[in-house]
Amino acid sequence: MQFEFSDEQAQFRDVVQRFCRDKSPAQTVRRIMETESGFDRDLWRALCGQLGVAGLHVAESSGGAGFGAVELGIVMEEFGRSLMPAPYLASVLATSALAELGESDARDALMADIAAADTIATLALDPQHGDPICRSVSADGGRLNGSVSAVLDARHADVVLIITADDARPTLHAANAGSDGLTSRPLRTMDRTRRLAELRFDGVVADRLGSLTNRQLKHVYDTALVALANESAGAAQALFDSTVEYVGMRVQFGRKIGSFQAIKHRLADLLVDVELARVAAYQAAAALAADEAVSATASLAKFTTSDACMNAAREAIQLRGGIGFTWENDTHLWYRRAKSSEVFLGTPAFHRERMIQEMTA
C-alpha cells in the first residue's frame, strides 16, 4: 500500500517540530539528562497539555485522543530528531495496553489521568525482546511477586502496568509506585535520556484491570516497534543532517572536507540508508493505522531503522574526527540513543528472524 501525509498531519508535524525546537534544544536535553531522575515534570506537562501526546494514538472509544499510528509516528520521529527527554515511549506502551481492554471505570480513569499528565504510567516488558508478557512476575490472589529488570521510566512512573501469564489468559495489572513491597532500583543507562529501572514485587497489591488475547498482545508489541522505528528514523535524520552541515563547514587541507569525494560518496550512501529507513517507518505506521496485518512490516521497520540510525551515528562521529569523540560534542548523545534503540525491543537479527516467521507463518 502507499500513503501520503494529510495536510492536517503535516501541520501537526510542524507544531511538534516547533515545540521540540523551542522547548528541548540540545542544552535542555543535556540539563535534564544530567539530573538524577533524568525527568522534568514541567516539560512533560507541557507535552501533554500543549501537544496532547499522551494517549494521542488511542481511539476515543478507549479513552484516547482518537488520532492514529501515523500521528504517533510523527511525534516519535520528531522526538527522535530532538532527543526529547520525556517518558513518552513508556506512556505509549502503557496506553496501548490499556487501549486493548474493554471499557471500565478503572481503565477510563487511568487513561484520563495519563492524558492529563496527572499520572505517569509505564508498562513492564520482558527484558529479552520486549515481549509484553513478564514471565518473571507472577500474580496470585491479586498480589504480584517477582522481579523484572529494565522497565522504561519506572523511576518516575506513578503507575506500573504489568502483564502476567499465570492466569488462564494473560492479565494486565496496575500497581501504584508507592505500594508496599514494590521497590525500584534505577539502572545506569548508556542513553541518559532514556532511563530504565529494575522492579521487585514482593506481594504487591495490584488492580487486575483485565485480560488480553495473544492477538492483542501482539498489537501492543507491534505498536511499540512502530513507535521506536519512527523515533530511530528521526534520530538517524538528525545525525545525517548535522553531519552534512559539519562537512560543509569544516576546513582541512585548505578545503571543506565535504568537497572530498570519498566523504561525498559515503554521505550519499548514508542518505540512502536514512531515506529507506524513513519510508519503512512511515509504511509501518500507515499499515498499523489501517489495521492491516503489520507484524512483518513492524519488525522490518525496527531493524531497518535501527541499523540505519546506528550507521548514521558511527559515520557522524567518524566524519567529525576527534571532536566527534568528545563529551562536549552532542553527537554521542544520539550515538547512545542509537546503540540502545538497536537492542531495545529485540536486536535487528531477532526482528529479521521474526519477519521471516511472520511471512512464512
Binding site: 560518496h265 550519499a268 550512501d269 529507506l276 509504511q283 531497518t304 529479521r352 512464512t360
Partner: protein, 422 residues
C-alpha cells in the same frame, strides 16, 4: 472538471468511437492498420494535427486510449528508442524532419536506435569522440548548395539494444574540437543501412548479447538530418535522456490483448517479441527477490537461520526501495537514491540466492535451479549498479545536487582537443 472540459472529452470519446467502428479491423496487416492511424491522427492524438496527430491534451488522449482498450484496438508503435526519437523530433526537429520520420515511427515501419554512449565515454557521455566532418558534394558552389552539404561520420558507439535491426539512429557526434566538450557536439539522424555503418553484437558476461557496437567508417549524413543548430547536440541529447528516464522507451506488454485473434494481433505480438528480446534477463538483473522464500523452501535452506537473515535483509531492502519509488520520491536527483537502492537490492538478492542454493550456485543454464534463473541472477546483478549511470555517478549527483556539497574540481573545461582521454 468544468462542464466545458467534460463536454469536449465526451466529444472526443464519441468521435474516436465512431472512427474505430468504421476503421478497426483485426484482419488488417499491422502496417495497413497503422497507416489508418497515421492518416486519422488517432494513433498519437497528442501529436500536432500537421504531423499525424490531433493536437489533443493529455486528458483527451487518455479517453482515446480507453476507447482503443475497450474494443482491443492495437495502438501506434511506441516500443524502444523509436519513442525517444519521436519525442526529441517533436521538440527540436524541423518540420521537414517531422514529416519525413514521424510517420514511419508511428506505424512501426521504421525501427530506431540510440547512438550516444561510446567505449571511451561511458560515465562521461559528453566526452564523445565520434566525429562528424562537413564536406561539400560535387555540386559545390551551385544552386541548392546548403542542401548538397553532407557530413562524414567516423568513430564508434556502443551499449544500444536495437542497432542490429534499426533503420535509423539518433546520433551525437563531435563537430567542433576547439570548444569545451559540451559545446562541440551536434545531434544527427543517421540511416543505418549504408556501407559506412557496421553493427556487431556485444556479448555480456551472463551470455546474453543484448547490446551492439556500431562502427562508423566514412558514414554519410545529409545536412538536412542535423537536428537543431550545430553545437546544440548536448542540450538536445539531454532532452532525449530526460524522456528515457521518464520511461518513453519502456515496452508495453501485449497481455492487454489476451485471447484476441486476428492478423494484426499476430503481427503486433511478433513486434513486441522482437522489442523485448534484449530484456529477458532484466528481472534476474534486479535480484529476483520475489523467488527467495519459495526457492529457500524448495532447497530446504529456509531451515538455516543464517540464510533466513540474508533473505530478510534482501526482502526488506526491496520493500523499502519499492515504497520509496511508490511514494513518488524518486523524481529528479532523488531518482539517484532509488537507483542506488536498486543496486543494493540486486546485491542482496545475489547474496541470498547464493546461500540458498549452496553448491547449486556453481551451475548455470539447465543445471542451475529454476531452469537457470538462479544462475542468471548470479551473473546479471552486477549490471544493475552500472547500466543507466553507474552507482558512482549517482553518488556524485546526490552529493552535489541533493546535499549541495562542493563539486569535484574539473579537469576537462578547456577546448576538447586538449582534454586528456584514452
Amino acid at each position: 472538471m468544468s462542464d466545458a472540459t467534460r463536454d469536449s472529452l465526451a466529444a472526443s470519446a464519441a468521435e474516436v468511437r465512431d472512427w474505430l467502428a468504421a476503421n478497426w479491423d483485426p484482419e488488417l496487416s499491422l502496417v495497413e492498420w497503422r497507416d489508418r492511424l497515421a492518416d486519422s491522427g488517432w494513433g498519437q492524438p497528442t501529436w500536432p494535427a500537421a504531423f499525424y496527430g490531433r493536437g489533443l491534451g493529455a486528458r483527451e488522449a487518455a479517453v482515446v486510449e480507453q476507447e482503443f482498450a475497450r474494443i482491443g484496438a492495437v495502438g501506434a508503435a511506441t516500443a524502444g528508442p523509436r519513442g525517444l526519437a519521436a519525442a526529441t523530433l517533436l521538440e527540436h526537429g524541423s518540420d521537414a524532419q517531422k514529416k519525413r520520420y514521424l510517420r514511419g515511427i508511428l506505424t512501426g515501419r521504421d525501427a530506431w536506435c540510440q547512438l550516444f554512449s561510446e567505449p571511451g565515454s561511458g560515465s562521461d557521455l559528453a566526452g564523445a569522440t565520434t566525429r562528424a566532418d562537413r564536406v561539400q558534394s560535387q555540386g559545390e558552389g551551385q544552386a541548392g548548395r546548403a542542401a548538397s552539404q553532407r557530413w562524414i561520420v567516423n568513430g564508434q558507439k556502443v551499449w544500444n539494444t536495437s542497432a542490429h535491426h534499426a533503420d535509423y539512429g539518433i546520433l551525437v557526434a563531435r563537430t567542433d574540437w576547439e570548444v569545451p566538450k559540451h559545446q562541440g557536439l551536434s545531434y544527427f539522424l543517421i540511416k543505418m543501412d549504408q556501407p559506412g555503418v557496421e553493427v556487431r553484437q556485444l556479448k555480456q558476461m551472463n551470455g546474453h548479447a543484448s547490446f551492439n557496437e556500431v562502427f562508423f567508417t566514412d558514414a554519410v549524413v545529409d545536412h538536412d538530418d542535423l537536428v537543431g543548430e550545430l553545437g546544440q547536440g548536448w542540450q538536445i541529447a539531454l532532452t532525449t535522456l530526460s524522456y528515457e528516464r521518464s520511461g518513453f522507451n519502456r515496452i508495453r506488454g501485449g497481455d492487454r490483448f489476451e485471447g484476441r485473434h486476428g492478423r494484426v494481433y499476430r503481427e503486433y505480438e511478433r513486434e513486441l517479441e522482437i522489442a523485448n528480446e534484449p530484456y529477458t534477463w532484466y528481472p534476474q538483473r534486479a535480484g529476483r527477490i520475489d523467488l527467495l522464500l519459495e526457492r529457500a523452501a524448495e532447497s530446504g535452506a529456509i531451515r538455516d537461520p543464517a540464510v533466513r537473515q540474508d533473505i530478510a535483509t534482501a526482502i526488506a531492502l526491496q520493500r523499502c526501495a519499492n515504497w520509496f519509488s511508490a511514494r513518488g520520491l524518486a523524481r529528479g536527483p532523488a531518482g539517484s537514491i532509488g537507483k542506488l537502492a536498486a543496486s543494493r537490492v540486486a546485491r542482496a538478492g545475489n547474496q541470498a540466492h547464493t546461500v540458498i542454493s549452496g553448491i547449486e550456485a556453481m551451475f548455470e543454464g539447465d543445471d542451475s535451479p529454476l531452469d537457470g534463473i538462479v544462475g542468471e541472477v548470479l551473473l546479471s546483478t552486477p549490471a544493475t549498479s552500472i547500466a543507466g549511470g553507474t552507482d558512482e555517478i549517482q553518488k556524485n549527483i546526490i552529493a552535489e545536487r541533493i546535499l549541495e556539497l562542493p563539486k569535484e574540481p574539473r579537469f576537462d573545461g578547456g577546448p576538447f582537443k586538449d582534454v586528456p582521454r584514452n
